[in-house]
């Protein structure tokens, strides 16, 4: 047990003096996750909202596929993207393998189904009186839908935070298409896997604490989202 206490003490020291290695890795992680989550929100929220309000053949199937994609294993997405980006792959000539762009793309693919599926639920669960009320007060059909989105804003925030949570802690995509390059594509999760494997237990622990802290913070934020705001009036 000695090594655990030693490791924890050393990790605490690293965090206390803001170790440059730890900071650099945390920064890469946050940057990649913020970018991928922002893009997933920009695509997933409109997609989910459109799926929720429109009527077309195969809508149930589309929503079903979205729900199934939420469970997509991260390494499978990594594998798929790797096969596209590798030199012999379809997008090989772009030279994107082992770049931040590739990681953002992979995490985007992971987060979009979750954000979109949750948005479908949030919009469908909205109070059915919102649109008629907006319409009778003179809102155009489009403006009424925008009002609806405003009414369920907290539910949408929760959907985006869930997307953030999904990608922040993933290893598969980051490892396979990021390559774990120090100071460039090394993220909290890939670094923990590497350092622990190499016996650098203290650094792994320090990074683990940062990862856990951010994950708990995001989870706490989801809990703080006003209840009932996403749905009907109490």
């Amino acid at each position: 047990m000695e090594y655990l206490w030693d490791g924890l003490r050393e990790a605490a020291g690293m965090l206390w003096r803001l170790d440059p290695e730890v900071c650099s890795i945390a920064w890469v992680s946050l940057k990649v996750t913020f970018l991928s989550t922002a893009l997933a929100a920009a695509a997933g929220v409109p997609l989910g909202a459109w799926l929720a309000v429109s009527q077309f053949r195969g809508k149930r199937v589309a929503v079903g596929i979205l729900n199934a994609l939420m469970a997509l294993p991260t390494v499978v997405v990594g594998l798929f993207l790797y096969s596209l980006l590798t030199r012999r792959g379809l997008l090989g000539p772009l030279g994107l393998l082992y770049t931040v762009t590739a990681m953002v793309a992979g995490q985007f693919l992971l987060a979009v189904p979750l954000v979109a599926a949750m948005t479908v639920g949030v919009v469908q669960g909205a109070d059915p009186r919102v649109i008629p009320t907006a319409r009778t007060l003179g809102a155009s059909p489009w403006r009424a839908r925008l009002t609806l989105m405003g009414e369920v804003r907290w539910g949408l925030v929760a959907a985006v935070l869930a997307g953030f949570g999904r990608v922040f802690g993933e290893v598969g995509v980051s490892m396979m298409v990021g390559g774990n390059i120090r100071g460039y594509t090394r993220t909290l999760t890939t670094a923990i896997a590497l350092q622990t494997g190499r016996g650098e237990f203290a650094l792994g622990l320090a990074l683990g604490i940062v990862l856990l802290g951010v994950a708990l913070l995001v989870n706490g934020a989801v809990q703080l989202v006003p209840r009932g705001a996403a749905g009907r009036e109490p």
Partner: protein, 338 residues
Amino acid sequence: MTEVPLYRLRGVVRRFGGAVVLDLPELELGRGGIHFLVGPNGAGKTMLLGVLSLLESPSEGEVVFDGERIFPGPGPSEAAARRVTLVGQAPYLFDTTVLGNAAYGLRRRGLGRTAAEAAASEALALVGLKGFEGRRARTLSGGEAKRLAIARALALRPQVLLLDEPLANVDEANRRILEELLAGIPGRLGATVVATTHDLEEAYRLGGRVIALRGGRLADVPPDNVYPGLVVVRDGEKRIRVAEGVEVCAPTVREGRVHVAVDARAVVLSRAPLDSSARNRFAGPVTSVRLCGDHVRVTVDIGVSLSAWVTPSSLRELGLHPGDRVTVSFKATSVRVF
């Protein structure tokens, strides 16, 4: 030249899941005042209100609003739609402040924030919600929420204000505020109010025109025998004078101007005055005899028009025809005063 009615509905039919929920061969609504659509649940009141809001299209028939044909057709012009505002039975309040709610419609009409909020504040003052501007709308009580919804509609200065059960499910204090508010809208704001209610007394108390509905059709005016009157004291006994020389005996603690309703099923017709305990006895000529389903409605002119429901067999026994003179009697306890 006759005035163009505000609404003219011809042959309007609305189906819902195969069933006819509204069937109105002809209905006209004039300008100004309060119109009450009265009927039990499922009478089609809310559906008719939806059609009048121009947002619900009928399955068949013609709807003309202020001289403009709305249905059949591409629906209301923006100008027409903006002159009509509907407040639902359980109005939805947006998840923002009271002021934000009241200003919503004005903002959608392109008014700037300052102008919209100024007009919205005025509307809030009208409904007695001055000082509530910064409150979250969702923290209001049921009655306050209704008043806010009405303010939100009034802020738009609509030509027509449609209200679905505005007085249902509100406490006594809010009810009084709302009644006063509704009664004042046509005069103060020049808007025509159309409200639904299942409470006939409410309709008369607010002095509205009553349109009775039953099963999606115009009912044959079930509110028989409702008269405005004045409580007078004669021989130490309270009576309600409903017309010159027509005073109705009824137990009441009320004073001044009231309405009385005489239950048409409790009115007894006879060729000669009856020797009975009935406190009310009048005579007059029969003005109409009409078969309505399983009963006959006999109308007698006793100074006001009074209807009595009798069975076809008793009508045959009496052998009544329009113009015949009859005596009508009813007990004081069959009269409601409100």
